[in-house]
Amino acid sequence: MSGVSSWFSRHAQAGIAALGRLLRRPLGTLLATSVIAIALALPAGLWVLTTNLRSLTGDVTQTLEVSVYLKPGVPLERAERLAADARRRAEVASVTVISAEQGLAQFKDHSGFGAALEALDTNPLPHVLTIRPRVTATTPRSMSALRNHLAAWPEADTVQLDTEWVQRLDSILDFLQAAFATLAIALGAGVVAVIGNSVRLEVDSRRAEIEVTKLVGGSNAFVRRPFLYEGFFYGLIGGVLALAYGSAVLAALQEPLARVSALYGGRLGIEGLTLEEAGLLVGAGSLLGLVGAWLGAARHLARIEPRE
């Protein structure tokens, strides 16, 4: 009767009994937990997909540069002074001045138009400032603030900022993740309903046992306990199965992905769930199971009274 050890043994007993019941009808348990696993794996898979795409855009943003093409005829000293002005801004990491001469030299080296450029009398290129923003400042808002500041220079001809597609992709990903979160909530409700229903059926099939147990003095908490454990284990097994299914899909995708990746210089790869995320998935499954069992069984059980 004493405190903690009695509490522990009571729960261990109810838990083991519930697990035993699930394992004694393996097919039924596998079917029910597979439904749960798919409902959990689907949003988890979409989550993995969007986080991977986002990390890809993250790489792009970090190598981002803003190029300011100055108007023809702006002297080099003026360009240097503008560079100094840009360096003072918080979102700017570094500024490089590429003079018209340097630009022409680079162009000759890299473009293959060397001979053609020789034929020109004058250098057609303007001075260019190449600005690298800080990683922390690559949000769409601070980037457009920087862009507006640079475009306001009277000496600036064109400000080139190739972030628009990144921003578009980013907002699409935002939308998708919000959509997936909604989907996850709907599927979570589905998991609760599936488990609630399974546990409720189990309660009905064991009505005689429940009545006798109450007749000899079993409290509502006592008769409820094994059913709550049953729901918990449904969710737990479902969560583990979801991880297994997800890993299988990921493994199946590795080879085709490696082929794509080879074409892109081997930079692509899918990161699966982290350990914390995997734990969260299994934990969420268990919690949903517990909630489902409670909703399905608690009031139903309290209403079952022995009739004798």
Binding site: M1, V212, L215, G217
Partner: protein, 217 residues
């Protein structure tokens, strides 16, 4: 130990099962509730086991007004009482041991203690050694004795039985009644509903006769 004071019981379907019933059962007494089936014996037992509540009047058990007990106190109340049924109410898919242990398990009794008391109870009803049998593997008389072992395993102060010999032939019925008598002799208050008048005469205990929902002692 058990007292009814002007108890009325009307069921939701309008049937008036008990009308102004008053009686007392003293501690350590063995009392038979007699009368035809449908006379109200079962209603009295249901009020004692708190399967039902009286419509009017007062039912006191263990010196406590049961009307003052909230529903959450009912499990603990039932643990202080052993109940035997005509159809024994055993769990068909559990062995004898589990059936007898059930009242101890719901009461959070330590395992060591459960083992000792289940064996003692089975010994008292002459079924030691049958722990692993399923109820269907036992005769009807043996099943009823398992039911009695389950009723007494928690060492209740009150033992209540509703037609415990209803399905048994006379010899088996007498054996079962002797068991009840033996529990009464060690201080348990015993209340048995039975319509078997021959058997009741044989044991010569106080009778409370129920007829059309009213009692005469």
């Amino acid at each position: 130990m058990i007292s009814f004071e002007h108890v009325f019981k009307r069921y939701p379907n309008g049937r008036e099962a008990l009308r102004d019933v008053s009686f007392r059962v003293a501690q350590g007494e063995m009392v038979f509730l007699t009368g035809r089936s449908g006379a109200g014996k079962s209603s009295i037992l249901k009020l004692v086991t708190l399967l039902e509540r009286p419509t009017r009047g007062k039912v006191a058990v263990h010196g406590q007004d049961t009307g003052a007990l909230p529903s959450r106190a009912i499990p603990a109340y039932r643990r202080r009482m052993g109940v035997v049924f005509q159809d024994h109410q055993l769990l068909a898919d559990r062995p004898v041991y589990d059936n007898v242990a059930l009242p101890l398990i719901v009461a959070d009794t330590p395992f060591r203690e459960i083992d000792r008391r289940v064996r003692a109870a089975l010994d008292q009803v002459g079924l030691l050694g049958r722990e692993k049998s399923l109820p269907v593997e036992l005769s009807i008389g043996e099943q009823q004795r398992v039911g009695i072992a389950r009723a007494v395993v928690g060492k209740p102060a009150i033992l209540v039985a509703d037609e415990p010999t209803g399905n048994l032939d006379h010899d088996l019925a007498r054996d079962v009644m002797r068991l009840f008598k033996r529990f009464q002799e060690v201080g348990v208050t015993v209340l048995i509903a039975s319509h078997d008048e021959t058997l009741v005469r044989e044991f010569a205990q106080r009778e409370i006769h129920v007829q059309s929902g009213q009692v005469s002692t």
